[in-house]
């Protein structure tokens, strides 16, 4: 009781001293609040993400078909159009020269259709994007398998995002959504999807409360990362086998976590999880490149072609300049390396834009 009385008196006196802070801060709070509340009148009517995606019994979720809507995100809103199957991009899968599989980066999250990498501005190269926000590599492989008959003779580019893909391959859920994943059994990996159903996953805090494990898995050489890269090798191997069976050319483009592109942000963030020196921003590209070399899959490190200027500030997805850079990269891969038929890895060399590519030749 004495403690409570003392606390009340101390709080009262303390609050008198904080009153100037409150008064000085008032303009800032008011401007921020009014700006935030009025900004919605300058945006088109957006729909919530639950209406953009729908349940899929094997993959977990996919974008809805025939959408023509605006979606809101961290830095504003963007226009999304999808085709009869739920994929963005004007080209049909049948007509396209290149098919890109990936997560939100393949979906062109945060960018209008007309500025996305799959927009056919020149009319020379038709790119189809097969991707949805939150996908892991397992889901992307399952789509590759499902669409394999339509991929014959095409170049397939597989985006691997280091921000969460490698870790999420091992998880049964993404937030409250159930998704297929890989597990190791008797020394070999297998895809698990029996738990995928429309019901909400009971524990949804993984993305917030397991950040340390997530970054350890991708960026620290240890038991966790060995497991994650082994799973990635299994999935890439499955993709390679599929490309041989379905007769398409497969290339891998890694997508850097934007923090990897800025040393200051990298150090600041990694300090939260222990010794920042333990986290190696180059580890994922080293490991995935080695996996691709062994599997004879052409590999391009996104870190070598993208900079922070290619990303939307405060969000982390690509801006229009980033999308142009990716279109140019895909065009380069298609023009130089997408050779129909069997491909053979010959050598690694540096291209004139400084891109390290493992080349293939017929």
């Amino acid at each position: 009781m004495i403690r409570l009385c003392l606390a009340v008196i101390a709080t009262f006196l303390g609050f008198i001293f904080t009153l100037p802070i409150v008064l000085l801060g008032l303009p800032f709070w008011m401007v921020a609040a009014v700006t935030k509340s009025m900004s919605r009148y300058f945006e088109p009517r957006v729909i919530p993400w639950k209406k953009v995606i729908e349940f899929d019994p094997v993959v977990g979720w996919k974008p809805r078909a025939n959408l023509d809507v605006y979606c809101s995100f961290q830095a504003g809103h963007f226009h999304v159009r999808t085709d009869d199957h739920g994929w963005r991009g004007e080209a049909s899968l049948q007509d396209s020269d290149v098919v890109v599989f990936g997560d939100s980066y393949a979906f062109a999250y945060g960018t209008d259709d007309k500025k996305a990498f799959f927009h056919n501005s020149s009319g020379t190269l038709l790119i189809k994007s097969i991707g949805s926000p939150g996908y892991n590599m397992v889901q992307e492989l399952l789509w590759m398998r499902r669409l394999a008959p339509e991929l014959r003779g095409k170049l397939v580019v597989w985006f691997i995002y280091y921000g969460n893909d490698l870790y999420d391959n091992l998880l049964p859920n993404f937030s409250t959504y159930r998704m297929p994943f890989v597990r190791e059994r008797n020394g070999s990996w297998e895809i698990v999807d029996w738990h995928v159903n429309p019901r909400r996953w009971p524990c949804s805090g993984d993305n917030k409360f397991r950040l340390k494990q997530k970054w350890h898995t991708t960026f620290v050489d240890g038991a966790l990362s060995q497991r994650a890269y082994s799973a990635a090798a299994y999935l890439l191997g499955q993709g390679k086998d599929l490309s041989a069976a379905a007769d398409f050319s497969l290339a891998v483009v890694s997508i850097p976590w934007p923090l990897q592109l800025n040393q200051e942000d990298w150090s600041h963030t990694m300090k939260r999880f222990g010794d920042p020196k333990a986290f190696d921003p180059l580890l994922p590209d080293r490991n995935v490149k080695e996996i691709c070399r062994e599997l004879e899959i052409p590999f391009i490190a996104g870190k070598d072609i993208l900079s922070l200027a290619h990303h939307i500030p405060g969000d982390g997805h690509w801006n229009s300049s980033g999308h142009r850079c990716i279109t140019a990269t895909i065009s380069d891969i298609h023009a130089n390396y997408a050779v129909k038929g069997r491909a053979r890895v010959e050598e690694t060399f540096t291209r004139n834009r400084g891109v390290a590519v493992t080349s293939i030749r017929a």
């Binding site: 004495i2 001293f17 802070i21 921020a32 300058f42 504003g76 939100s104 926000p133 963030t269």
Partner: protein, 189 residues
């Protein structure tokens, strides 16, 4: 939630910010004009508002980005100093006074037959977001204030309720590290 920094920069937020600035300037101009009784201030203010407002609405990225970033920077600098001030009052005024009564923590070496181990039960999934058992029917959705108050009641630290205004003020002064990229991309689900 009340925040001191402006929302993420987009055309919509820039236009909105432009209107707020125009509103603020018109208020100041009207006030000055009233005090001085001069119509010149009113005319100059109206000219500024019309020019700034029109150009800002048409070309928000080019016109308003600089004042937007400058305002945000000012807000961040203010919040840094204000947080230091508020934390100083918390640590060197409130906690020092309360601490004079002593601590309820058992910090002394226990007797040979007793233990300092405290029995704990498993937490419910709803309590994963906090470090103490949530009361029956409580949920994360009810916010950190409800969670904090429930802790003060369950742990009988009633005095800590007095701390709440300072915590609210600190949360309103919170600003994120000035980073170009977020640590987590997925805000959509």
């Amino acid at each position: 939630m009340l925040t001191i920094a402006l929302p993420a920069r987009s055309s919509a937020t820039l236009r909105s910010f432009g209107l707020v600035i125009c509103g603020g300037v018109s208020f100041i101009v009207a006030f000055v004009s009233y005090l001085t009784g001069s119509i010149l201030w009113l005319v100059l203010g109206l000219l500024f508002i019309l020019t700034f407002g029109t150009v800002g609405m048409l070309r928000p990225q080019k016109t308003l980005s600089v004042p937007y970033l400058a305002w945000n920077r000012l807000a961040r600098e203010f919040s840094k100093l204000a947080r230091l001030w508020v934390l100083g009052i918390c640590f060197y005024a409130v906690l020092v006074v309360v601490g004079r009564v002593g601590s309820s923590l058992g910090l002394r070496r226990p007797k040979s037959s007793s233990s300092l181990w405290t029995p704990r039960k498993s937490l419910t999934p709803e309590a994963y977001h906090s470090e103490h058992t949530m009361p029956a029917g409580g949920s994360v959705a009810s916010g950190w204030i409800a969670s904090y108050l429930s802790w003060t009641v369950l742990s009988r630290n009633y005095w800590a309720c007095c701390f709440l205004p300072f915590l609210i003020l600190l949360s309103a002064l919170e600003h994120e590290h000035e980073s170009n990229v977020p640590t987590d991309l997925y805000t959509l689900f």
